[in-house]
């Protein structure tokens, strides 16, 4: 059975630093895949190359067996993407944005209208449908981005930091939708800093450090007997500081 996402020997250099160092990764279909790693480990770079937003220097990325860089049209139809920190067409309203994207993908107008209404309602953006995206809060931006990623009914979702700066209520909404997506047979790849969330949500996890995959597999296997957080610190070879000095604080 083909992987939902398969990366082979993916490489990216920026000047002299190697951001992603020959990464191999396979995301099984039907899995909820968490990508964790310290800041600057190469998570965003990897995901950008996997979905066609950043050209790799070497290696291949396949979505359900389709090469993203050889056959981009077929690959892009299969995947929904939510990058972190990217702009949206800021001067469109939420409803206009989704309608534009649906029509741009060549969906029939009636289908687009129905899906836009449904997505806005489920994501609790119905009240904000006529507000400009530039006026949206961080959580609303993530939700409208998720709606844009879901609009064309993809088989794989690739989400970069979908819970960053999102309030607990919106986070719960996003989580429920992602779980339903996986339950219906889709696969989700997300990156996050929050170990507890990955532990609770994901079936599989990969730890990236300095551009390499240092551990990957089912969550239970990666974390072993400890919590994922402890396992993470152990795997990336970090040492939690904060115990020395500062005697003047204890007056």
């Amino acid at each position: 059975m083909t992987d939902a996402l398969g990366l082979t020997r993916l490489l990216k250099r920026f000047d002299r630093t190697v951001a992603v160092d020959h990464i191999d990764l396979s995301v099984p279909t039907g899995s909820f895949f968490g990508l964790v790693g310290p800041n600057g480990a190469g998570k965003t770079t990897t995901l950008s190359m996997a979905v066609g937003l950043l050209r790799p220097d070497a290696g291949t990325a396949r979505i359900l067996g389709v090469d993203v860089w050889e056959d981009p049209s077929r690959a892009k139809a299969l995947v929904g993407v939510l990058p972190d920190g990217m702009s949206l067409p800021e001067r469109l309203t939420g409803a206009e944005l989704l309608t534009y994207l649906g029509l741009l993908r060549g969906l029939p107008a009636a289908t687009v209208a129905a899906r836009v209404d449904e997505l806005l309602t489920v994501l609790e953006l119905a009240d904000a449908r006529n507000r400009l995206v530039i006026d949206y809060s961080a959580g609303m931006r993530k939700k409208i981005g998720l709606a844009a990623a879901l609009l064309h009914a993809p088989k794989l979702l690739v989400l970069d930091e979908p819970f960053e700066a999102v309030d607990p209520v919106s986070a719960a909404t996003i989580r429920t939708i992602l779980q339903r997506f996986v339950a219906a047979g889709g696969a989700v790849v997300l990156s996050s800093h929050v170990m507890a969330l990955v532990e609770q949500l994901c079936s599989h996890v990969a730890v990236i450090s300095r551009g390499r995959v240092v551990a990957a597999g089912p969550v239970a296997q990666v974390r072993g007997e400890t919590s994922l957080e402890e396992a993470f610190v152990h795997i990336v070879g970090g040492r939690t500081g904060g115990t020395e000095g500062l005697s003047w604080l204890e007056s």
Binding site: L53, L54, E90, R91, L92, T93, L101, L132, D135
Partner: protein, 518 residues
């Protein structure tokens, strides 16, 4: 406290003096030095009419002060090396913070250059010891006044700019000031000689009564021994400076304690047009583009500027009787300038390009949609000018204008996407301060843009040839019109195809360029 802030600014300046930044700073410093030397030389010059030297000096100081007031609009919101937010949590009163930031403001190329220019006061006083003493006192006061005026104006604007509505207004304001520079230049050219000849008592009085003239007035009065006037002028500078410092303190306090509010929906514009567009990929892009053109102030400025620049370029020369032949062609200039000013569509959209890149087969629809939206916006304006202006001025130009118009419309719509794809450069985030210009495309890119724009001349060539060959022969000279239409359609299709291919093949690279933070 002031000492710490000055040292801090010195550190930051030294760290930022690297590479391209350093070249810009040194270049600016050299230009500023030239202006300062020029100011001192003019102040040292002899004028035949008595009293005129003081008027001229007051005029020069006024120009420098206005420079401080308006320059931040172009250079990106003034000097933000030390931001008041950095100090918001420290136990300072607003006045202390303002005084500290003022001290730090004196350290920097603009302030030092201005101080040198204001040495003109001392030069002006030369020959009388009391006057020199007064000049030495007036110099820092006058400099502080210029710096404070600039800071208070920007802080006041900044307070208004914190909401998105305010920011949108700010972009329009900056564009307006940009256009005003044309008029200011004309004003100096007309009024300069009047001041030098001492012809207008009213103008002289204004130059001396505005605060930038108080320093020269004090120095002048000291030379003549009129001490009450000296005292009044210097005291005026001190009081005004103190007042501005207090206001700045209040504004700083407000800036660091209030959060921006965004009010209500403002999803207006082009709804009726957008709803009538077909529900196809290209139609969706046209609708999105039209809405963005109407709602994004940066894009509105580009369109408005095209019309204003075209009018400024063709009307005043005609009024002065030089080359009145320009007016019939204003519509054509609008299309040319509109194409050049709009030629960074992907830069204006920034990293939102990712949505196009993750959509299969979207490149062609995106490029064609942008072309059509540009045509829908620019053609009506240009068409009115093309049809009306020759009739009002020189009807004999109709064969030329009507033949060139479709060629340039098509060529422009092709060129606007060529420019956008091949010479894109990043603009500041739409959610940032509109005055943080950063829209510095770099010299090479500007040259490339101009070179590509020359393609429009190539478009015009066959049309001009046909009209010229047929000129005077009634039916033949009109052959230019179908030629123009053919050329226009060809360029729209051909250049759009090149741009679409480039976008499809090099999309990720374009995204990397326009998503850069500036």
């Amino acid at each position: 406290m002031v000492g710490v802030l000055i040292r801090m600014k010195w550190r930051v300046l030294r760290h930022s003096l690297r590479g391209k930044e350093a070249v810009l700073t040194v270049g600016g410093a050299i230009l500023g030095l030239l202006a300062a030397v020029l100011t001192v030389l003019v102040a040292a010059a002899d004028f035949p009419t008595p009293g005129v030297d003081t008027d001229v000096l007051a005029g020069l100081l006024l120009l420098w002060t206005l420079g401080w007031l308006f320059a931040p609009l172009f250079t990106g919101g003034g000097d933000e090396t030390l931001r008041p937010e950095h100090f918001a949590l420290l136990p300072f009163t607003p006045r202390q913070l303002a005084a500290g930031l003022l001290g730090a403001a004196f350290l920097g190329v603009p302030a030092i250059v201005t101080a040198l220019a204001f040495c003109a006061l001392v030069v002006h006083a030369a020959g009388s010891l009391p006057a020199v003493v007064v000049a030495v006192l007036a110099l820092p006061l006058q400099l502080a006044l210029a710096v404070l005026l600039s800071r208070v104006a920007m802080a006041g604007l900044g307070a208004a700019l914190q909401s998105r509505r305010g920011r949108d207004l700010g972009v329009l304001l900056a564009a307006l000031v940009g256009v005003m520079v044309f008029f200011a230049q004309a004003l100096v050219q007309t009024l300069g000689p009047v001041v030098v000849d001492g012809d207008s008592p009213a103008l002289t009085a204004v130059l001396r009564w505005v605060p930038s003239g108080w320093g020269p007035v004090a120095v002048d009065a000291a030379g003549r021994g009129e001490w009450p006037l000296v005292l009044a002028a210097l005291a005026g500078l001190v009081v005004l400076g103190g007042g501005l410092l207090a206001v700045w303190g209040v504004l700083l306090h407000r800036r660091t304690t209030r959060v921006p509010v965004n009010v209500g929906p403002s999803a207006r514009g082009s709804g009726s047009v957008a709803r009538r567009l077909p529900a196809t990929p290209v139609g969706a892009v046209v609708a999105k583009e039209l809405r963005t053109w109407f709602r994004d102030p940066r894009r509105r400025v580009a369109l408005l500027s095209a019309v204003i620049v075209a009018l400024v370029a063709s009307v005043p020369p005609a009024l002065q009787g030089e080359g009145g032949g320009g007016i019939p062609f204003t519509g054509l200039v609008v299309m040319t300038v509109g194409c050049l000013l709009a030629g960074n569509l992907y830069g204006m959209d920034g990293s939102a390009l990712w949505l196009t890149l993750v959509t299969p087969e979207a490149a062609a629809a995106d490029v064609r949609g942008r072309q059509l939206a540009w045509l829908l916006l620019i053609t009506p304006v240009a068409a009115v000018l093309v049809v009306v202006l020759p009739a009002l001025t020189e009807p004999a130009t109709y064969p030329w204008v009507l033949a060139l118009a479709p060629a340039l419309a098509g060529g422009g719509s092709g060129l606007v996407v060529l420019l956008s794809v091949f010479t894109a450069y990043p603009l500041p985030d739409q959610r940032a301060n509109p005055f943080s210009a950063g829209n510095n495309p770099g010299l090479l890119r500007v040259l490339l843009q101009l070179a590509i724009t020359l393609l429009l001349a190539v478009v015009a060539l066959p049309v001009v040839a046909v009209v010229w060959l047929g000129s005077g022969v009634a039916p033949l000279e009109w052959l230019g019109v179908p030629t123009g239409v053919a050329v226009g359609v060809l360029c729209w299709w051909w250049w759009g195809r090149i741009a679409a291919r480039r976008l499809a093949e090099r999309g990720p690279e374009l995204l990397a360029v326009v998503a850069k933070h500036v």
